[in-house]
Protein backbone atom coordinates (compact mmCIF):
# COMPACT_ATOMS: atom_id res chain seq x y z
CA UNK A 1 0.00 0.00 0.00
CA UNK A 2 1.41 3.38 -1.03
CA UNK A 3 0.85 6.26 1.37
CA UNK A 4 1.55 9.91 0.50
CA UNK A 5 2.70 12.12 3.36
CA UNK A 6 1.59 15.58 2.20
CA UNK A 7 3.55 18.00 4.38
CA UNK A 8 1.90 21.25 3.34
CA UNK A 9 2.12 24.88 4.45
CA UNK A 10 -1.48 26.12 4.66
CA UNK A 11 -2.44 29.75 5.35
CA UNK A 12 -4.72 30.40 8.31
CA UNK A 13 -8.18 31.41 7.14
CA UNK A 14 -7.48 30.80 3.44
CA UNK A 15 -9.98 27.94 3.37
CA UNK A 16 -10.52 27.90 -0.39
CA UNK A 17 -6.79 28.29 -1.15
CA UNK A 18 -5.85 25.50 1.26
CA UNK A 19 -8.58 23.23 -0.15
CA UNK A 20 -7.42 23.90 -3.73
CA UNK A 21 -3.88 22.93 -2.74
CA UNK A 22 -5.13 19.72 -1.09
CA UNK A 23 -7.31 18.81 -4.09
CA UNK A 24 -4.49 19.45 -6.55
CA UNK A 25 -2.20 17.09 -4.58
CA UNK A 26 -4.93 14.43 -4.38
CA UNK A 27 -5.49 14.63 -8.15
CA UNK A 28 -1.79 14.41 -9.02
CA UNK A 29 -0.50 11.89 -6.52
CA UNK A 30 -0.19 8.20 -7.27
CA UNK A 31 -0.94 6.68 -3.88
CA UNK A 32 -3.58 4.59 -2.14
CA UNK A 33 -3.85 6.99 0.79
CA UNK A 34 -2.97 10.71 0.92
CA UNK A 35 -2.48 12.19 4.40
CA UNK A 36 -2.64 15.91 5.22
CA UNK A 37 -1.78 17.69 8.52
CA UNK A 38 -4.01 18.64 11.45
CA UNK A 39 -6.56 21.36 10.56
CA UNK A 40 -5.02 21.61 7.11
CA UNK A 41 -8.23 23.00 5.59
CA UNK A 42 -8.22 26.01 7.95
CA UNK A 43 -4.50 26.22 8.75
CA UNK A 44 -3.27 25.93 12.32
CA UNK A 45 -4.11 27.72 14.54
CA UNK A 46 -7.22 29.64 13.54
CA UNK A 47 -7.62 30.82 17.16
CA UNK A 48 -10.75 32.97 17.64
CA UNK A 49 -11.77 32.62 13.99
CA UNK A 50 -13.23 29.40 15.35
CA UNK A 51 -15.79 31.45 17.30
CA UNK A 52 -17.35 32.62 14.02
CA UNK A 53 -20.07 30.22 12.89
CA UNK A 54 -19.38 30.89 9.21
CA UNK A 55 -15.80 29.71 9.67
CA UNK A 56 -16.67 26.10 10.50
CA UNK A 57 -19.39 26.28 7.81
CA UNK A 58 -16.97 27.28 5.07
CA UNK A 59 -14.47 24.65 6.16
CA UNK A 60 -17.19 21.97 5.87
CA UNK A 61 -18.05 23.16 2.34
CA UNK A 62 -14.36 22.90 1.44
CA UNK A 63 -14.26 19.39 2.91
CA UNK A 64 -17.16 18.40 0.64
CA UNK A 65 -15.17 19.53 -2.41
CA UNK A 66 -12.19 17.50 -1.20
CA UNK A 67 -14.42 14.45 -0.70
CA UNK A 68 -15.56 14.67 -4.34
CA UNK A 69 -11.93 14.67 -5.54
CA UNK A 70 -11.02 11.35 -3.90
CA UNK A 71 -11.68 8.81 -6.63
CA UNK A 72 -10.40 5.27 -5.95
CA UNK A 73 -8.29 6.30 -3.01
CA UNK A 74 -8.39 7.21 0.66
CA UNK A 75 -7.61 10.63 2.17
CA UNK A 76 -7.04 11.70 5.76
CA UNK A 77 -7.43 15.46 6.20
CA UNK A 78 -7.67 17.74 9.23
CA UNK A 79 -10.76 19.96 9.59
CA UNK A 80 -13.08 21.51 12.17
CA UNK A 81 -16.28 19.60 12.83
CA UNK A 82 -19.22 21.44 14.33
CA UNK A 83 -21.73 19.21 16.10
CA UNK A 84 -24.55 21.32 17.54
CA UNK A 85 -22.76 24.00 19.55
CA UNK A 86 -19.54 22.00 19.95
CA UNK A 87 -16.42 22.15 17.84
CA UNK A 88 -14.03 19.24 17.42
CA UNK A 89 -10.49 19.27 16.11
CA UNK A 90 -11.09 16.48 13.61
CA UNK A 91 -9.63 14.18 10.98
CA UNK A 92 -11.94 13.17 8.13
CA UNK A 93 -11.38 9.65 6.82
CA UNK A 94 -12.48 9.64 3.20
CA UNK A 95 -12.58 6.57 0.96
CA UNK A 96 -13.63 6.87 -2.67
CA UNK A 97 -15.81 9.99 -2.28
CA UNK A 98 -17.37 8.93 1.02
CA UNK A 99 -16.58 10.07 4.55
CA UNK A 100 -16.31 6.72 6.33
CA UNK A 101 -15.17 8.02 9.69
CA UNK A 102 -14.23 11.11 11.68
CA UNK A 103 -11.68 11.12 14.48
CA UNK A 104 -12.10 13.78 17.18
CA UNK A 105 -8.84 14.79 18.84
CA UNK A 106 -8.83 13.28 22.32
CA UNK A 107 -5.89 15.02 24.01
CA UNK A 108 -6.32 18.78 23.68
CA UNK A 109 -3.12 20.64 24.60
CA UNK A 110 -3.63 23.63 26.86
CA UNK A 111 -0.14 24.74 27.84
CA UNK A 112 2.61 27.00 26.47
CA UNK A 113 1.30 28.38 23.14
CA UNK A 114 -1.68 26.00 23.13
CA UNK A 115 -5.19 26.88 24.27
CA UNK A 116 -7.27 24.28 22.44
CA UNK A 117 -9.81 23.83 25.25
CA UNK A 118 -10.91 27.42 24.61
CA UNK A 119 -12.42 26.28 21.30
CA UNK A 120 -12.71 22.51 21.15
CA UNK A 121 -14.41 19.68 23.02
CA UNK A 122 -12.43 16.51 23.63
CA UNK A 123 -13.11 13.40 21.60
CA UNK A 124 -13.39 10.08 23.39
CA UNK A 125 -12.99 7.40 20.76
CA UNK A 126 -9.79 5.77 19.47
CA UNK A 127 -10.77 5.68 15.79
CA UNK A 128 -9.80 2.95 13.35
CA UNK A 129 -10.91 2.29 9.78
CA UNK A 130 -10.40 -0.50 7.30
CA UNK A 131 -8.94 0.00 3.83
CA UNK A 132 -7.76 -2.67 1.38
CA UNK A 133 -7.89 -5.31 4.09
CA UNK A 134 -5.78 -3.29 6.55
CA UNK A 135 -7.04 -1.83 9.85
CA UNK A 136 -5.58 1.64 10.40
CA UNK A 137 -5.76 3.83 13.51
CA UNK A 138 -6.09 7.61 13.12
CA UNK A 139 -5.01 10.14 15.74
CA UNK A 140 -4.30 13.85 15.93
CA UNK A 141 -1.06 15.38 17.22
CA UNK A 142 -1.11 15.23 21.07
CA UNK A 143 -3.03 11.91 20.91
CA UNK A 144 0.24 10.19 19.95
CA UNK A 145 2.17 11.78 22.85
CA UNK A 146 0.35 9.54 25.35
CA UNK A 147 0.06 5.72 25.25
CA UNK A 148 -3.72 5.23 25.57
CA UNK A 149 -5.07 5.99 22.07
CA UNK A 150 -2.49 3.89 20.21
CA UNK A 151 -2.92 1.05 22.73
CA UNK A 152 -6.70 1.00 22.17
CA UNK A 153 -6.21 1.11 18.40
CA UNK A 154 -3.89 -1.88 18.58
CA UNK A 155 -6.40 -3.73 20.78
CA UNK A 156 -9.02 -3.12 18.11
CA UNK A 157 -6.79 -4.65 15.45
CA UNK A 158 -4.91 -1.71 13.92
CA UNK A 159 -1.76 -2.68 12.03
CA UNK A 160 -0.78 0.90 11.22
CA UNK A 161 -1.29 4.29 12.90
CA UNK A 162 -1.65 7.55 11.00
CA UNK A 163 -1.09 10.67 13.09
CA UNK A 164 -1.75 14.14 11.68
CA UNK A 165 -0.11 17.03 13.51
CA UNK A 166 0.50 20.76 13.74
CA UNK A 167 3.45 20.62 16.07
CA UNK A 168 5.55 23.75 16.62
CA UNK A 169 9.34 23.96 16.56
CA UNK A 170 11.59 24.49 19.51
CA UNK A 171 15.18 23.41 19.88
CA UNK A 172 15.41 19.63 20.39
CA UNK A 173 11.94 18.96 18.97
CA UNK A 174 13.10 16.52 16.25
CA UNK A 175 14.65 14.19 18.81
CA UNK A 176 11.66 14.61 21.11
CA UNK A 177 9.03 13.58 18.55
CA UNK A 178 11.17 10.68 17.34
CA UNK A 179 11.47 9.51 20.96
CA UNK A 180 7.70 9.72 21.39
CA UNK A 181 7.13 7.62 18.25
CA UNK A 182 9.81 5.16 19.48
CA UNK A 183 7.89 4.78 22.76
CA UNK A 184 4.63 4.08 20.90
CA UNK A 185 6.54 1.56 18.77
CA UNK A 186 7.99 -0.16 21.85
CA UNK A 187 4.51 -0.42 23.39
CA UNK A 188 2.61 -1.63 20.33
CA UNK A 189 5.06 -2.69 17.60
CA UNK A 190 2.84 -0.95 15.01
CA UNK A 191 4.34 1.28 12.29
CA UNK A 192 3.40 4.97 12.42
CA UNK A 193 2.84 7.51 9.65
CA UNK A 194 3.38 11.00 11.12
CA UNK A 195 2.36 14.02 9.00
CA UNK A 196 3.13 17.44 10.45
CA UNK A 197 2.26 20.92 9.18
CA UNK A 198 5.15 23.02 7.91
CA UNK A 199 5.45 26.81 7.74
CA UNK A 200 5.13 29.69 10.14
CA UNK A 201 2.03 31.33 11.57
CA UNK A 202 2.55 34.60 13.46
CA UNK A 203 5.98 33.65 14.75
CA UNK A 204 5.13 30.04 15.59
CA UNK A 205 7.16 27.80 13.31
CA UNK A 206 5.86 24.36 12.30
CA UNK A 207 8.81 22.19 11.43
CA UNK A 208 7.49 19.42 9.19
CA UNK A 209 9.72 16.37 9.82
CA UNK A 210 6.87 14.10 8.66
CA UNK A 211 8.02 10.50 8.73
CA UNK A 212 7.42 6.80 8.40
CA UNK A 213 8.44 5.17 11.67
CA UNK A 214 8.89 1.42 11.95
CA UNK A 215 11.08 -1.12 13.76
CA UNK A 216 12.00 1.51 16.37
CA UNK A 217 13.51 3.94 13.84
CA UNK A 218 12.76 6.52 11.16
CA UNK A 219 12.54 4.68 7.84
CA UNK A 220 12.03 7.76 5.67
CA UNK A 221 11.28 11.42 6.40
CA UNK A 222 10.24 14.63 4.66
CA UNK A 223 12.52 17.66 4.47
CA UNK A 224 12.42 19.96 7.50
CA UNK A 225 11.09 23.53 7.30
CA UNK A 226 9.73 23.23 3.75
CA UNK A 227 6.78 21.79 1.89
CA UNK A 228 7.42 18.22 0.83
CA UNK A 229 5.43 15.25 -0.37
CA UNK A 230 6.82 11.78 0.21
CA UNK A 231 5.38 8.43 -0.78
CA UNK A 232 6.12 5.38 1.32
CA UNK A 233 5.32 1.75 0.67
CA UNK A 234 3.76 0.26 3.78
Amino acid sequence: MKIALAQINPIVGDISGNAEKIISIIKNIKADIAVFPELSITGYSPQDLLLKKTFAGQNTEALEKIVKSTKNMAVIVGFVERAYENLYNSAAIIINQQIVGIHHKICLPNYAIFDEKRWFREGNHATIFEFKGKKIGVSICEDIWFPETAKKQKYRGAGLIINISASPYMEGKFEEIENILRQRWEENKIPIIYVNQVGAQDGIVYYGHSMYFKDGRVIKKCRDFEEDIMIVDV
Binding site: N9, I11, P46, D48, L49, E171, V205
Partner: protein
Protein backbone atom coordinates in the same frame (compact mmCIF):
# COMPACT_ATOMS: atom_id res chain seq x y z
CA UNK B 1 27.57 29.48 27.40
CA UNK B 2 24.72 27.71 25.61
CA UNK B 3 25.35 24.96 23.16
CA UNK B 4 22.59 25.30 20.62
CA UNK B 5 21.79 23.85 17.25
CA UNK B 6 22.49 27.10 15.43
CA UNK B 7 21.84 25.88 11.89
CA UNK B 8 18.47 24.37 12.79
CA UNK B 9 17.41 27.47 14.76
CA UNK B 10 18.55 29.69 11.88
CA UNK B 11 16.37 27.69 9.47
CA UNK B 12 13.40 28.06 11.82
CA UNK B 13 13.87 31.83 12.12
CA UNK B 14 14.31 32.24 8.36
CA UNK B 15 11.05 30.35 7.75
CA UNK B 16 9.36 32.46 10.45
CA UNK B 17 10.41 35.68 8.70
CA UNK B 18 9.69 34.47 5.18
CA UNK B 19 6.18 33.20 5.94
CA UNK B 20 5.18 36.27 7.97
CA UNK B 21 6.05 38.49 5.00
CA UNK B 22 4.68 36.19 2.28
CA UNK B 23 1.42 35.33 4.00
CA UNK B 24 0.75 39.00 4.77
CA UNK B 25 1.68 40.13 1.24
CA UNK B 26 4.86 42.05 2.06
CA UNK B 27 8.18 41.73 0.27
CA UNK B 28 10.29 44.54 1.66
CA UNK B 29 11.78 45.27 5.06
CA UNK B 30 13.55 48.17 6.73
CA UNK B 31 15.80 47.72 9.72
CA UNK B 32 17.83 50.08 11.89
CA UNK B 33 21.51 49.13 11.76
CA UNK B 34 23.72 50.46 14.55
CA UNK B 35 26.84 48.43 13.91
CA UNK B 36 26.22 46.49 17.12
CA UNK B 37 25.60 42.79 17.63
CA UNK B 38 21.79 42.60 17.64
CA UNK B 39 21.07 44.71 14.57
CA UNK B 40 23.92 43.01 12.65
CA UNK B 41 22.56 39.53 13.35
CA UNK B 42 18.97 40.65 12.66
CA UNK B 43 20.00 42.19 9.33
CA UNK B 44 21.89 39.02 8.36
CA UNK B 45 18.80 36.89 9.11
CA UNK B 46 16.52 39.29 7.22
CA UNK B 47 18.75 39.21 4.14
CA UNK B 48 18.90 35.41 4.28
CA UNK B 49 15.11 35.20 4.48
CA UNK B 50 14.04 37.97 2.10
CA UNK B 51 17.02 38.56 -0.19
CA UNK B 52 19.41 41.54 -0.18
CA UNK B 53 17.33 43.51 -2.66
CA UNK B 54 14.33 43.51 -0.34
CA UNK B 55 16.04 44.76 2.82
CA UNK B 56 17.07 48.33 3.52
CA UNK B 57 19.44 48.94 6.43
CA UNK B 58 19.08 52.40 7.94
CA UNK B 59 21.99 53.93 9.82
CA UNK B 60 20.69 56.65 12.12
CA UNK B 61 23.62 58.24 13.93
CA UNK B 62 23.19 60.73 16.73
CA UNK B 63 26.00 63.07 15.71
CA UNK B 64 28.09 63.66 18.82
CA UNK B 65 27.17 60.39 20.55
CA UNK B 66 27.35 57.63 17.95
CA UNK B 67 30.94 56.50 17.52
CA UNK B 68 32.72 56.48 14.16
CA UNK B 69 33.53 52.84 14.83
CA UNK B 70 29.81 51.93 15.05
CA UNK B 71 29.10 53.70 11.76
CA UNK B 72 32.04 52.03 10.07
CA UNK B 73 31.00 48.56 11.29
CA UNK B 74 27.43 49.15 10.12
CA UNK B 75 28.51 50.27 6.66
CA UNK B 76 30.92 47.37 6.28
CA UNK B 77 28.22 44.84 7.15
CA UNK B 78 25.71 46.39 4.73
CA UNK B 79 28.34 46.23 1.97
CA UNK B 80 29.26 42.65 2.87
CA UNK B 81 25.60 41.58 2.68
CA UNK B 82 25.02 43.72 -0.42
CA UNK B 83 22.00 45.26 1.29
CA UNK B 84 20.82 48.77 0.44
CA UNK B 85 21.70 51.24 3.14
CA UNK B 86 20.70 54.78 3.96
CA UNK B 87 22.27 57.19 6.45
CA UNK B 88 19.84 59.52 8.21
CA UNK B 89 21.17 61.39 11.29
CA UNK B 90 18.53 61.87 14.00
CA UNK B 91 19.75 65.25 15.27
CA UNK B 92 17.58 67.56 13.12
CA UNK B 93 14.44 65.65 14.09
CA UNK B 94 15.39 65.33 17.75
CA UNK B 95 16.71 68.84 18.44
CA UNK B 96 13.35 70.69 18.63
CA UNK B 97 12.35 68.32 21.48
CA UNK B 98 15.46 69.13 23.48
CA UNK B 99 14.46 72.81 23.46
CA UNK B 100 11.31 72.03 25.47
CA UNK B 101 11.98 73.17 29.02
CA UNK B 102 12.14 70.63 31.85
CA UNK B 103 12.28 71.22 35.61
CA UNK B 104 13.90 67.90 36.45
CA UNK B 105 17.29 67.70 34.74
CA UNK B 106 17.75 63.97 35.42
CA UNK B 107 14.36 63.17 33.92
CA UNK B 108 15.22 65.31 30.91
CA UNK B 109 18.38 63.29 30.20
CA UNK B 110 16.28 60.13 30.49
CA UNK B 111 13.54 61.52 28.26
CA UNK B 112 15.97 62.71 25.58
CA UNK B 113 17.74 59.32 25.64
CA UNK B 114 14.47 57.51 25.00
CA UNK B 115 13.48 60.07 22.39
CA UNK B 116 16.57 59.13 20.40
CA UNK B 117 15.28 55.56 20.10
CA UNK B 118 11.78 56.85 19.32
CA UNK B 119 13.09 59.20 16.64
CA UNK B 120 14.74 56.20 14.98
CA UNK B 121 11.39 54.40 15.11
CA UNK B 122 9.69 57.38 13.40
CA UNK B 123 12.32 57.33 10.63
CA UNK B 124 11.99 53.56 10.14
CA UNK B 125 8.20 53.68 9.90
CA UNK B 126 8.40 56.70 7.58
CA UNK B 127 10.61 54.71 5.21
CA UNK B 128 8.54 51.55 5.66
CA UNK B 129 5.38 53.39 4.62
CA UNK B 130 7.14 54.82 1.55
CA UNK B 131 8.17 51.36 0.38
CA UNK B 132 5.25 49.21 1.64
CA UNK B 133 7.75 47.54 3.91
CA UNK B 134 7.65 46.05 7.39
CA UNK B 135 9.96 47.17 10.18
CA UNK B 136 12.24 44.51 11.57
CA UNK B 137 12.96 44.95 15.28
CA UNK B 138 16.30 43.99 16.76
CA UNK B 139 15.61 43.36 20.47
CA UNK B 140 16.95 40.08 21.84
CA UNK B 141 15.44 37.90 24.57
CA UNK B 142 17.74 39.25 27.30
CA UNK B 143 16.81 42.85 26.51
CA UNK B 144 13.12 42.03 26.28
CA UNK B 145 13.31 40.22 29.63
CA UNK B 146 15.14 43.07 31.39
CA UNK B 147 13.15 45.81 29.68
CA UNK B 148 16.44 47.15 28.35
CA UNK B 149 14.62 48.76 25.45
CA UNK B 150 12.77 52.00 24.85
CA UNK B 151 9.01 51.58 24.84
CA UNK B 152 7.73 52.52 21.35
CA UNK B 153 11.35 53.15 20.41
CA UNK B 154 13.61 50.26 19.51
CA UNK B 155 10.97 47.84 20.82
CA UNK B 156 8.40 49.09 18.29
CA UNK B 157 8.52 46.93 15.17
CA UNK B 158 6.46 44.52 13.11
CA UNK B 159 8.54 41.42 13.71
CA UNK B 160 11.29 40.54 16.20
CA UNK B 161 13.64 38.10 14.52
CA UNK B 162 16.02 37.42 17.44
CA UNK B 163 13.42 38.02 20.15
CA UNK B 164 13.70 34.42 21.35
CA UNK B 165 17.51 34.27 21.47
CA UNK B 166 19.40 35.22 24.64
CA UNK B 167 22.23 37.71 24.06
CA UNK B 168 24.82 34.93 24.40
CA UNK B 169 22.93 32.89 21.77
CA UNK B 170 22.82 35.92 19.44
CA UNK B 171 26.64 35.89 19.51
CA UNK B 172 26.61 32.20 18.46
CA UNK B 173 24.10 32.94 15.71
CA UNK B 174 26.24 35.87 14.52
CA UNK B 175 29.25 33.57 14.28
CA UNK B 176 27.22 31.08 12.26
CA UNK B 177 26.00 33.81 9.88
CA UNK B 178 29.48 35.22 9.30
CA UNK B 179 29.01 38.51 11.16
CA UNK B 180 32.54 39.95 11.56
CA UNK B 181 34.38 39.09 14.82
CA UNK B 182 34.91 42.76 15.65
CA UNK B 183 31.12 43.18 15.89
CA UNK B 184 30.61 39.94 17.84
CA UNK B 185 33.29 40.85 20.40
CA UNK B 186 32.21 44.44 21.03
CA UNK B 187 30.80 45.40 24.42
CA UNK B 188 27.02 45.83 23.93
CA UNK B 189 25.82 49.43 24.19
CA UNK B 190 22.57 51.24 23.49
CA UNK B 191 24.68 54.32 22.56
CA UNK B 192 21.97 56.60 23.89
CA UNK B 193 24.51 58.13 26.28
CA UNK B 194 28.17 58.47 25.25
CA UNK B 195 30.47 55.81 26.70
CA UNK B 196 27.75 53.82 28.51
CA UNK B 197 27.82 50.04 28.08
CA UNK B 198 24.82 47.81 28.64
CA UNK B 199 26.66 45.58 31.09
CA UNK B 200 27.72 48.58 33.21
CA UNK B 201 24.11 49.82 33.29
CA UNK B 202 22.70 46.37 34.07
CA UNK B 203 25.26 45.50 36.75
CA UNK B 204 26.69 42.27 35.34
CA UNK B 205 27.97 40.65 32.17
CA UNK B 206 25.44 39.08 29.79
CA UNK B 207 27.05 35.70 30.52
CA UNK B 208 25.87 36.04 34.12
CA UNK B 209 22.59 37.84 33.34
CA UNK B 210 21.55 35.18 30.81
CA UNK B 211 22.17 32.38 33.31
CA UNK B 212 20.00 34.12 35.92
CA UNK B 213 17.30 35.03 33.39
CA UNK B 214 17.15 31.51 32.01
CA UNK B 215 16.65 30.05 35.50
CA UNK B 216 14.03 32.67 36.39
CA UNK B 217 12.06 32.66 33.11
CA UNK B 218 12.50 29.22 31.55
CA UNK B 219 12.94 27.10 34.68
CA UNK B 220 10.67 29.21 36.96
CA UNK B 221 13.17 29.11 39.85
CA UNK B 222 12.69 31.42 42.85
CA UNK B 223 15.26 34.05 43.89
CA UNK B 224 16.53 31.79 46.72
CA UNK B 225 16.92 28.80 44.40
CA UNK B 226 18.95 30.90 41.94
CA UNK B 227 21.11 32.34 44.77
CA UNK B 228 21.85 28.76 45.93
CA UNK B 229 23.36 28.10 42.51
CA UNK B 230 26.09 30.62 43.22
CA UNK B 231 24.80 34.12 42.36
CA UNK B 232 24.67 37.20 44.61
CA UNK B 233 21.31 37.88 46.24
CA UNK B 234 21.52 41.58 45.34
CA UNK B 235 22.08 40.87 41.64
CA UNK B 236 19.42 38.15 41.38
CA UNK B 237 16.92 40.40 43.22
CA UNK B 238 17.57 43.28 40.85
CA UNK B 239 17.28 41.07 37.74
CA UNK B 240 13.97 39.58 38.94
CA UNK B 241 12.71 43.09 39.78
CA UNK B 242 13.61 44.33 36.32
CA UNK B 243 11.69 41.48 34.67
CA UNK B 244 8.61 42.18 36.82
CA UNK B 245 8.63 45.98 36.52
CA UNK B 246 9.07 45.93 32.74
CA UNK B 247 6.10 43.69 31.90
CA UNK B 248 4.34 46.74 30.42
CA UNK B 249 7.02 47.00 27.74
CA UNK B 250 6.08 43.54 26.49
CA UNK B 251 2.43 44.51 26.02
CA UNK B 252 0.30 46.78 23.92
CA UNK B 253 -1.35 49.66 25.82
CA UNK B 254 -3.59 48.47 28.64
CA UNK B 255 -7.20 48.54 27.47
CA UNK B 256 -9.93 49.01 30.10
CA UNK B 257 -12.63 46.40 29.49
CA UNK B 258 -16.24 47.39 30.07
CA UNK B 259 -18.17 45.36 27.48
CA UNK B 260 -18.97 41.69 26.95
CA UNK B 261 -16.50 41.46 24.10
CA UNK B 262 -13.49 43.72 24.04
CA UNK B 263 -10.10 43.89 22.35
CA UNK B 264 -8.40 43.15 25.66
CA UNK B 265 -5.53 40.76 25.02
CA UNK B 266 -6.97 38.15 27.39
CA UNK B 267 -10.14 38.03 25.33
CA UNK B 268 -9.43 38.83 21.68
CA UNK B 269 -7.23 36.10 20.22
CA UNK B 270 -7.33 36.70 16.51
CA UNK B 271 -4.45 35.61 14.30
CA UNK B 272 -2.57 38.46 12.59
CA UNK B 273 -1.92 36.30 9.54
CA UNK B 274 -5.52 35.76 8.58
CA UNK B 275 -7.07 35.36 5.13
CA UNK B 276 -10.62 34.66 6.36
CA UNK B 277 -13.01 37.21 4.88
CA UNK B 278 -16.33 35.61 5.88
Amino acid sequence: MFKMNTKEICNAIVLGIRDYFRKNNFQKAVIGLSGGLDSSVSLSLAVKALGNKNVTAVLMPDIGTTSDESMQHAKELAWKLKANHKIIPINDILNPLSRIEAKNKKNKVYSISNSKARTRMVILYYLANLENALVIGTSDKSEIALGYTTKYGDNAADILVIGDLWKTEVIEMGGFLGVPEKILKKKPTAELIKGATAEKELGASYDVLDKILKMHIEDDLSIDEIVKRGFSKKLVGSVVDRVRLNEHKRRAAMLIRVSEKSFHGMEWRMPVTNRFKG
